[in-house]
Symmetry: C2
Subunit: 166 residues, 2 copies
């Protein structure tokens, strides 16, 4: 968790975006930004709401959604969907702005890693498919170390032998 001293400039950056867009810098917008910038975790809207409540801020969900939309537009925050049925938000002002995610199928934990190989992959699809990459998403799902040590297994419930297809 960052300390307040590091968060302030990030919130101010969001303020600058709002000013550039001619939008008011409201107390609610600053509070939401403050919460998002104060952690390196991937927060859900519910978690953001609870975090605000804990610090005495009572801000409606609609406002949180609307502010997150602005934060995502400003490119200061990234929206993720890890298949949980809701979105998560992560600020992009970390030392490693572009990174990929490891997601544990057992505990739902998220870890980050970088994958320089993707530059080459993007170059190849550009060459071979004439595709112009703008952004990507790489997620590896599996079992984290702790869950493996706790004996977790990846369930397999498919056909007993799916091969012999062709």
């Amino acid at each position: 968790m960052n300390t307040g001293a590091q968060i302030a400039p990030f919130v101010r950056l969001f303020g600058r975006y709002l000013r550039e867009q001619g939008l008011p810098i409201t107390q609610q917008r600053e509070a939401v930004a403050q919460v998002v910038f104060s952690t390196d975790q991937h927060l859900s809207v519910d978690e953001i709401e609870e975090s605000l409540r804990e610090q005495g801020e009572r801000i409606g969900k609609a406002t949180i959604y609307r502010t997150l939309d602005l934060l995502v537009r400003s490119q200061l925050v990234e929206e993720h969907d890890f298949g949980e049925g809701f979105k998560r938000y992560e600020h992009r002002l970390s030392p490693q702005p572009v990174h990929e995610h490891l997601i544990c199928l057992e505990c739902g934990g998220v870890w980050e890693f970088t994958s320089p190989e993707l530059d080459e992959v993007e170059g190849r699809v550009a060459r071979e498919h004439g595709f112009r990459p703008a952004r990507h998403r790489l997620e590896i799902y599996g079992l984290c170390r702790e869950c493996q040590e706790a004996g977790a297994e990846i369930p397999y419930e498919g056909l007993t032998c799916p091969i012999e297809t062709v």
Copy 2:
């Protein structure tokens, strides 16, 4: 689009899965499987429903959802979420069962490619994080050749200069 001759064995494979699980092979389940296996596209539930309707089958959405759930469980079909607000389904009986996706931000088109580099990436996260990969998802978003030639541009609406953060 595959021809009927190639689809039948796939549908039968699904039948085998149902039998293994002690579940009835109903006419509706076969019809849904038939539609999914008869194309290499990434179908939405609405598209599946319409396709069924075109061939005279009138099957409720609930049944389609329930059948897709079985198809995904059997591992014969993969579920995708390309961020459109709904899911898409793709059968896994193509010559290239594991592949990644290119998604055009302009026209929404989807192309497939393979990325052998990911084996190495998975090996590295296993070594460095003790993570045991089960499956992954790599999607590259950008502009396809056609949309580029039509003059499409990737919109940038973020801060005019987001750097100078640290």
